[in-house]
């Protein structure tokens, strides 16, 4: 590790920690969608990253629309955007499942996977054609922040935006956890995840439960899309690919199928990526995430919180 000249090492590390957690929250939100869908129907929804991208574009459209309507109070605009983007992205998620995956249920295992890759291309091209291929900028909604450990030379910046991202993520995850652990829908989802056939035998509408899983996963991805837009300020039709692969890595790292694992994996991937950029050549930061994926698959394929795969009798 090399120190940046003139910057106290501790302050610098703290700054990276803050940045890493913020980014990790976004990855975690996306990773939850991967892990939920895998848990319930055992497929990797490769179009999920593109749902995140669509959510990001929907957020941009909503924010610009609200600004043109004169709604500029930041909390109100953010809340409305969140509802709009999550709602419409949920519809995308529902449609993708209905059109591309449900007809293939009971087919051979690779079929929905191929279909998912197709859906991913469709969504990317759809946005590219509809919104153009150029990068879309967005001015900062919440400039400024708090300066910590200011020694006159270097201050650790905790921006309002980072606080907003962390708080939003925690609130969304709290609601989501409540939904999964305490409500009839959550119980149905877990029942389907543990034994789809038995869930059906009890009278659970398994098709509907699977649809709702996609809907919820897409809504969470859209929240991540909004946060990503706010954090980076630029988006394009291709952001879903990289973010998607990293969130997928996070889900595998945490243990695919495990919800807390997905969030933990997201945080770790965020920290690894930011840590790499801070101390090692920034051009290779994406290599970090993918190296982690390879190492996890070699040494701990069940992930940190994953269960060993038990063959059902």
């Amino acid at each position: 590790m090399t120190n940046v000249p003139g910057v106290p090492a501790l302050a610098y590390a703290l700054q990276q920690l803050i940045n890493g957690v913020t980014l990790g929250m976004i990855y975690g939100l996306i990773a939850v969608g991967y892990t939920m869908v895998y848990g319930i129907i055992g497929m990797i929804n490769f179009a999920h990253g593109d749902i995140f991208m669509v959510g990001s574009f929907l957020s941009l459209i909503a924010l610009l629309g609200l600004a043109s309507l004169g709604i500029t109070a930041v909390p109100l605009a953010l809340a409305l955007t969140l509802i709009f983007a999550a709602g419409l992205a949920a519809l995308y998620g529902w449609t993708v499942e209905r059109v591309a995956y449900r007809p293939l249920r009971g087919s051979f295992r690779l079929a929905p996977l191929i279909s998912a890759i197709g859906m991913s291309i469709v969504l990317q091209n759809f946005v590219q054609v509809g919104q153009g291929a150029r990068v879309k900028p967005m001015e900062a909604l919440l400039p400024g922040g708090i300066a910590l450990m200011d020694d006159g030379n270097f201050a650790v910046q905790l921006s309002w935006m980072q606080i907003a991202i962390v708080v939003t993520t925690l609130v969304v995850l709290a609601v989501f956890t409540w939904l999964v652990t305490k409500t009839p829908l959550g119980r149905s989802m877990r029942a389907c995840e543990q034994d789809l056939k038995m869930a059906g035998l009890m009278g659970i509408d398994t098709d509907r439960t699977i649809s709702l899983t996609f809907v919820i996963g897409a809504a969470l991805a859209a929240v991540a899309g909004l946060l990503f837009l706010l954090y980076y300020g630029v988006i394009d039709f291709f952001i879903g690919f990289l973010a998607g692969v990293k969130a997928f890595t996070a889900a595998v790292l945490g243990g695919i199928g495990s919800l807390p694992g997905a969030v933990l994996g997201g945080l770790l991937i965020g920290l690894i990526e930011v840590g790499w950029s801070a101390f090692l050549p920034v051009e290779y930061k994406d290599v970090a995430a993918f190296s982690v994926l390879i190492l996890v698959l070699i040494f701990r394929p069940n992930g940190i919180m994953g269960r060993a795969e038990v063959e059902k009798v």
Binding site: R187, R190, Q194, D195, K197, G200, M202, G203, I204
Partner: protein
């Protein structure tokens, strides 16, 4: 009065015929058992009643309604509940959650009340309410599977091999619980068993399934006394 009747039912798995022209009746308030060797089609018959897989020929009438072509989830919402082969409890949910599931899926509103009844029947479940289903012993899991089915307050309970892999003492407990339920609440039970001796003693009537077809029918005690049944299913077993 017949609560469930199958007429000429045939079921296939792909090209393989698992049930051949099966007809049977289960009357309201009866315990009916279906005995047969491994692979005779007993579980297939249970699953065909539940519409998974659906019968290719014949008809299944439950409570005056033809359910042959009905999707599983609609059949199971007509107060039919199954405790399936292998128990299939939700191992990563608590016992309480398993029970709640059984009730809420069936639209049962008085969940606490029904849970109390089930726990009275199987006191072991009350002690284990907060525990994960997967940590229970085999016997407790079977009690949970039956309890979960009972949470729907079914009129017809389909029980698939409840004695499988359990100690004789536990089997007696479970069979006595079924008898109590039947006597006190009038619950109708279709019981699939390899343990022919105990099943026939418990049941009012029984059917024998061989290679997917019914070969014998009669009252439980009547079947128990027949030499061919003794030879095929009881000698050395019980």
């Amino acid at each position: 009065m017949s609560l469930l009747s199958l007429t000429g039912v045939s079921t296939f798995y792909g090209a393989i015929q698992a049930l051949r022209d099966v007809s049977l009746e289960v009357n309201e308030g009866e315990i009916v058992t279906l005995i047969g060797a491994n692979g005779a089609g007993k579980s297939t018959l249970m699953m065909t009643v539940c519409g998974s897989p659906q019968a290719r020929a014949g008809s299944i009438v439950y409570d005056g309604t033809d359910i042959t072509r009905m999707p599983t989830l609609l059949i199971m919402r007509r107060r039919i509940a199954q405790a399936p082969e292998g128990r299939r409890i939700f191992g990563r949910m608590t016992v309480r959650e398993n029970l709640i599931m059984g009730a809420e899926v069936a639209g049962q509103s008085n969940i606490a009340g029904v849970m109390d009844e089930v726990c009275a029947l199987f006191p072991r479940l009350r002690e284990r309410l907060a525990q994960r289903g997967g940590t229970l012993s085999g016997g407790e899991q079977q009690m949970l599977a039956i309890g979960r089915a009972l949470m729907a307050r079914p009129r017809l309970l389909l029980l698939d091999e409840p004695s499988l892999g359990l100690a004789p003492l536990v089997v007696r407990q479970i069979f006595s619980a079924i008898r109590t339920l039947n006597r006190e609440t009038g619950l109708t039970v279709l019981l699939v068993e390899q343990n022919a001796h105990q099943a026939l003693r418990l049941a009012h009537r029984g059917y024998v399934l061989v290679n997917g077809a019914i070969t014998m029918a009669g009252s439980g005690l009547d079947l128990l006394a027949r030499p061919e049944i003794r030879a095929a299913y009881l000698e050395g077993g019980g």
